[in-house]
């Protein structure tokens, strides 16, 4: 298509989450006039519940390539030091992980520390092999490889292959063995079951539905370990989201809040713009959607997709299983032997791999877990509206649509299960709670628009990854409707706060604009 060279090409990005903002900044940096429309009051999407607070706790793999497009350095993010992790043990012998140091709460060294470090190091090496795959569209497969465009894919595969070649031979074999295996077996082959083993398995399952024994969970674990350690942004996720939004605006991106996308305008089988809830139409050559695949398809209308594509998108597994519980506390709770180290630490309520496995089962039948596993963060309040202390828990394996529905009783049962489980380690906790707020996966969907309220917009399983993400045939960010692109966590490489899907999608879209783009 011909471009009017006097006018800058225009793009609309739906959603001001980290991916939408990264996509917008990437395009803006290439001379595209970009407007971001966000239906919430503030930026952040899944980081902040679309400006209503926060959902995640930590940043652990925000990618430098995405930050570079935003014009940000790691130092601009206000990220603190890597947080310590405290593993709450059933027998009261809690384990503290601070960087490379692993010990019991009373300071005695942990007998499995060396095995744990060796396994972590192995995972990090393997993650480094996969890293080049995350920063570009997934490679074309089959005969698609053998044309000119396919050559860059081959180069990307070659880089991955080269990374693999750099490993010693035994490590290469091990890499190919574990790639599609399950986290529970991988970890238990090296470590006895207990909090330390469970902490690694938890990394593999956080945000997803898969049980630790499900093949493919190692792949999820490796993506997670590709980043650095976990850090807490100063001022929480909302502050981080504001910093990222500010950086995008500095690139010349216009962000419009309280603006709902109501429909994608299509003319002659090509995107012409975005219609807002107000009826206003923003004309644009392209629309990049950081919504899930299904909501995006609905905005454009299924008529623009063939039956096979609709079926595949409909078949995406995207029911969220992670809930967030926020508690306001009358004072900082105490744990024997850990006082003074609780504030700001990452507490894991996952005493063993077996306990995680048990916690995964009820969700399959739409039941509320009786002994949930969770990541917990306790922060002292500012004394003001937040109260003296604040506890938040990311609770795993909570059904999106419980059999009984999300009644008041069901919500209370879940909160009570979490408070009860934490209470065994923090005596008196139930008495400290002054206010409790629960966001179920369904609430998260309502807040953010993420399909199913899913942490990754769609389950990060081997059959929904790489060339199959979001669905086979649309994995290179371009939907089958010219001008409509997927730029959210539902696209490759997936969820967590990485910024990569947005950045990769924008690069693909910019390349598609071709010579119309001025740098």
């Amino acid at each position: 298509m011909a471009f009017d060279h006097n006018r800058r090409p225009r793009a609309v990005v739906i959603g001001a989450g980290v991916n939408g903002l990264a996509a917008a900044a990437t395009l803006a940096a290439r001379g595209v006039d970009v407007t971001v429309v966000e239906r919430g009051r503030g930026p952040g999407g899944m980081m902040t519940g679309a400006g209503q607070g926060e959902l995640g706790h930590f940043v652990w793999n925000l990618h430098p390539a995405a930050l570079a497009e935003l014009g940000l350095g790691a130092a601009d993010l206000g990220l603190g030091a890597e947080v310590a992790t405290v593993l709450l043990a059933a027998d009261g012998r809690h384990v503290v992980i601070e960087g490379e140091a692993i010990s019991f709460a009373d300071g005695t060294p942990h007998p499995d520390a060396a095995a744990y470090r060796a396994l972590r190091a192995r995972l990090a090496r393997f993650a480094a092999v996969l890293a080049p795959l995350a920063t570009a569209a997934p490679p074309r497969l089959g005969s698609g490889m053998l044309n000119r465009a396919g050559l860059s894919d081959l180069a990307q595969l070659a880089r991955t292959g080269l990374g693999l070649r750099r490993l010693p031979r035994d490590a290469r074999r091990e890499f190919l063995r574990v790639l599609l295996s399950n986290a529970a077996d991988l970890v238990r082959d090296e470590l006895p079951d207990g909090p330390l083993a469970a902490s690694l398995v938890f990394d593999a399952i956080l945000g997803g539905r898969a049980a630790p024994g499900a093949p493919g969970t190692v792949l999820a674990l490796l993506w997670r370990h590709a980043g650095g350690g976990r850090r807490r942004p100063a001022g929480g996720m909302a502050a981080l989201a504001r910093r990222i939004a500010g950086a995008a605006e500095a690139r010349g991106v216009t962000i419009r809040y309280d603006a709902t996308a109501a429909g994608i305008e299509v003319e002659g089988d090509r995107v012409r713009g975005l219609r807002l809830g107000s009826g206003e139409v923003i004309a644009a050559e392209m629309v990049l959607s950081s919504l899930g695949a299904m909501p995006t398809l609905r905005l454009a209308g299924p008529a623009h997709f063939d039956a096979e594509a609709c079926r595949r998108i409909r078949g995406l597994r995207c029911e969220g299983t992670t809930a967030r519980l926020d508690l306001r506390l009358a004072e900082m709770p105490r744990i024997e032997g850990l006082d003074g180290r609780l504030a700001g630490a990452r507490l894991l309520l996952a005493p063993s791999v077996a306990a995680i496995e048990a916690a995964c089962r009820p969700v399959k039948y739409g039941a509320i877990p009786a002994s949930p596993v969770a990541e917990v963060l306790i922060e002292p309040g500012d004394g003001g509206a937040e109260g003296p202390a604040h506890l938040s828990a990311l609770v795993q394996h909570v059904p999106y649509a419980p059999e009984c529905g999300w009644t008041e009783a069901a919500r209370e049962a879940l909160a009570a299960a979490v408070i009860g489980a934490l209470g065994t380690h923090m005596p008196g906790l139930p008495g400290l709670v002054t206010e409790s707020r629960l966001a179920t996966p369904r609430d998260i969907e309502t807040m953010t628009g993420a399909p199913g309220g899913h942490w990754h917009h769609a389950e990060l399983a081997a059959d929904q990854m790489l060339t199959l993400r979001p669905v086979n045939g649309m994995a290179r960010y371009a939907s089958s409707l010219p001008g409509l692109w997927f730029c959210g966590a539902g696209a490759h490489p997936g969820g967590d706060i990485t910024g990569l899907p947005g950045r990769n999608a924008a690069l693909a879209a910019a390349a598609d604009l071709g010579q119309g783009v001025t740098r």
């Binding site: 089959g142 031979r169 190919l176 599609l180 295996s181 024994g213 399959k364 059959d463």
Partner: protein, 547 residues
């Protein structure tokens, strides 16, 4: 030592894969001895008269995966193998209905339309998709997996062959193949079919013999493993070996003896003898010793290396990998002598599908619950059962008017849990009875009066399978069929070409590629590698003499 103690090759274990490898070697002119611990041959492919007048296929029970190439190569029909195809099966429901599967396409279409008209088109798509994957994978069964990590020239050739096959598939189908290999059977079926009963019927093949549930990733591939069947050239067909599964082993044994092979039974291999990193023979439990430069072990990889080879001959890494190999018992069996044909009130009189596989699990959730029971160390309260009555089409299985039924049960743990502890010893008489009751009650529900017809029932737990057949933990595939244990990873990365760290010692059982089922592929593939090495040795020797 006399000449009669010396062989060109010894096969440890007279299962169907061991016999297959033995046949190929004997036909190539090697002097081969098969050693079997039981007083019958066949491993898990056996027919036994455990109740007078009845023949039990008391381990494996249907014939489908047996490679037609092997049947042809070894002239098995000439040695007495006859496979009678059956044409359908059914899943019964609690409320008196059923879903019948017919191999006749039109009949199946009518049946799907009866239950769920919208699924006719979905099933059509499903069967096309699965057949496509079948066609892609079937040729790989009889090929040695290449080593992608340290490729030798022939591995490179094999890798190129694989890449070309992917290239021919095209990008869309390559994506579909990747999805198929990594999806769960439940999720995969959800993409095609709506009706829960039809889904449950189809999903069963994805979990048979594996320690995974219908929603565990990787089970869609196991489904394929059961769809690659082939009877008389009819792809996807299943059948009964006339005279029970022992007929397969029997034909192999006759072919072996006809080629001059020798057999020793009633005493198993106690120790595989190794000197200076080379195998030299085997010592039997009865004290006899046989010598050979080649030993082919039909036992699984754990049993072979942890039980019968001294650790000093094996690299530490290899041993560690063998210990790590996952081989989980997850199924049991009940073999039943019936006084008469059981009644299934839901089924039309004399329905043809009663001659096929019958089930009672109505939904994927029910199947998943059966798995959940197993994963905490209990046998399923509502198990998945695969019932067959071969005597309906093979009168040699039971006296006239009587019937023989084989009931495969998924799931049963190897080491049931009791008081927080898991132990194989927990399979005591009370546990076995309770396990059998759970199964029989379930059958009784769809076949009232069934229990009264039972004249004799043989209950087989994973522990029985381990003790009698030698399968570690009673795993029918000699190792889980998960991706980390398939292709070049099976059984141990770097040793997928049937060779082992001990020169002259080969694995020919289903621990090796392409895995379990009465397929004869591991045996045939391993024999090809053994003969290749033997020819190379011959050449070296000739060259040496010439010099």
């Amino acid at each position: 030592m006399s000449r009669s103690d010396h062989f060109d090759a010894i096969v440890a274990g007279g299962g169907h894969n061991g016999l297959t490898a033995a046949c190929y070697m004997a036909r190539a002119g090697m002097r081969v001895l098969v050693v079997e611990k039981n007083d019958w041959l066949g491993g898990a492919a056996v027919s036994r008269e455990l109740h007078a007048g009845w023949t039990y296929s008391n381990c494996s029970y249907v014939c489908s995966l047996l490679r037609p190439e092997v049947v042809r190569d070894l002239d098995l029909p000439q040695h007495g193998l006859q496979v009678i195809p059956y044409t359908g099966g059914a899943t019964f429901t609690r409320d008196g209905d059923y879903f019948a599967y017919h191999s006749d396409h039109r009949a199946l279409e009518r049946e799907i339309a009866r239950l769920s008209p919208r699924d006719v088109e979905g099933y059509e798509r499903f069967s096309i998709a699965v057949m496509r994957q079948c066609r892609f994978i079937r040729p790989l069964l009889l090929r040695t997996p290449p080593d992608p990590v340290a490729p030798r020239p022939r591995d490179v050739a094999e890798l190129v062959y694989l890449l070309r096959r992917f290239h021919d598939l095209g990008p869309r189908e390559t994506g579909e193949a990747m999805r198929f290999w990594t999806a769960s059977v439940g999720d995969y079926l959800d993409g095609f079919i709506e009706n829960p009963l039809i889904k449950a019927h189809l999903a069963g093949s994805g979990i048979i013999g594996t320690g995974l549930g219908v929603y565990s990733p990787g089970t869609a591939y196991v489904l394929l493993h059961h769809y690659m069947g082939d009877v008389d050239g009819a792809v996807g067909a299943w059948g009964f070996a006339r005279g029970g599964m022992g007929a397969v082993s029997g034909a192999l044994a006759r072919a072996f003896r006809a080629a001059g092979g020798e057999v020793v039974t009633c005493s198993g291999v106690e120790r595989i003898l190794v000197e200076n990193g080379r195998v030299t023979g085997v010592a039997l439990a009865n004290g006899d010793t046989y010598r050979a430069p080649v030993v082919a072990s039909g036992m699984d990889v754990k049993r072979t290396f942890l039980g019968h080879v001294e650790a000093q001959h094996l690299p530490d890494d290899f041993l560690k990998a063998v210990r790590r190999f996952k081989i989980r018992g997850s199924s049991g069996k009940i073999n039943i002598a019936l006084d008469a044909m059981p009644r299934f009130p839901a089924a039309p009189e004399d329905a043809s599908f009663l001659s096929g596989d019958l089930h009672v699990s109505e939904s994927l959730a029910e199947l998943e619950r059966a798995y959940d029971d197993w994963s905490v160390g209990r046998w399923s309260a509502e198990p998945y059962v695969d019932m067959l009555i071969p005597s309906r089409i093979d009168p040699t299985m039971a006296p006239p008017g009587k019937h023989m039924m084989t009931v495969f049960v998924q799931y049963a743990p190897y080491d049931p849990e009791r008081d927080g502890r898991r132990d194989p010893a927990h399979w005591d008489e009370a546990a076995r009875t309770a396990f059998a009751d759970a199964v029989l009650d379930r059958i009784e529900r769809v076949s009232p009066g069934f229990r009264d017809l039972v004249l004799h029932a043989e209950v087989r737990t994973p522990v029985d399978l381990e003790r009698e057949v030698g399968l570690t933990e009673g795993n029918i595939f000699q190792g889980e069929l998960t991706f980390d244990q398939l292709l070049f990873n099976r059984p141990v990365p770097g040793y997928a070409d049937y060779r082992t760290p001990v020169k002259g010692l080969y694995l020919v059982g289903s621990s090796a590629h392409p895995g379990g089922g009465v397929m004869a592929a591991p045996g045939a593939n391993a024999a090809r590698e053994i003969l290749r090495d033997a020819r190379r040795l011959d050449r070296t020797e000739r060259a040496f003499r010439a010099a």
